[in-house]
Symmetry: C2
Subunit: 149 residues, 2 copies
């Protein structure tokens, strides 16, 4: 048992989670950052998804949300803009500022990419009972929400 803050936590489960997270993350970084399904690398995909789902945003906000440096987002956005997947909307009240929104081309490339990802994922978990998929999704979400702190 691993005693912490008065809680007794089953050390096996703790270590299991730690190990499996590490494995997952190693694999995922080595797969998805290199093997770009289609034309999108992981950062590009995440950026497009953010904008497709939650609407136009400036690089500063995006950098905060992604916990990346502004310069990093600036370059990623420039690359996606250059490819015609994003376009700039100047801020009429602030000449320094603009928002990035997704183009129709961006939407279609994003959609295709997402479908490929979902298909791959659904193949991985297709044998799982539906309840397990549901619980897995919810626990991942809960874990991520706890991580925010």
């Amino acid at each position: 048992m691993f005693v912490l803050r008065g809680y007794r936590m089953n050390e096996n489960h703790l270590e299991m989670i730690e190990l499996e997270l590490a494995i997952l993350i190693r694999r995922a970084t080595n797969l998805s950052s290199n093997k770009k399904l289609g034309s999108l690398d992981r950062s590009a995909y995440l950026l497009l998804r953010r904008i497709a789902n939650k609407g136009a945003a400036g690089v500063k906000l995006l950098a905060e949300e992604f916990m990346l440096d502004i310069s990093t987002i600036s370059r990623q956005a420039a690359s996606l803009e250059q490819k015609g997947f994003l376009y700039r909307i100047p801020d009429p009240l602030d000449g320094r500022s603009y928002k990035l929104d997704i183009t129709e081309l961006g939407k279609s490339v994003f959609k295709e990419h997402m479908e490929a990802r979902l298909k791959r994922l659904s193949e991985i978990i297709e044998e799982w009972p539906d309840e397990e998929r549901e619980v897995f999704g919810k626990l991942l979400k809960k874990f991520n929400e706890s991580l925010i702190l």
Copy 2:
């Protein structure tokens, strides 16, 4: 619904898993690869753990297990050797070959690092009911095992 190979899969759960995995992976790569708790970066930690848990191994085997290029492991190992965390055991039957094993110093650094990781993780999930932790660990494991294919 997302129909695939004759299965009807609840699209919400599929998309939830996809989204939460992406978030988790983005955060994890940006946190753990940079913020090295103590003196170990993520690759070094994983390498030490592999050897601490499963014993000495050569770079070729390690590269296969980690799905990395041999040259990458060779450099990571050289760095850990230089720091005194790993040492070489020459293969008496093959002059080209050797195995990497962990030193006492390596063990102690690894142990300290792992404890810090476990502590951080246990803080994240300390409020979770024990059953959820158990299920989360098992589903992560199952997911990783499915990924092997």
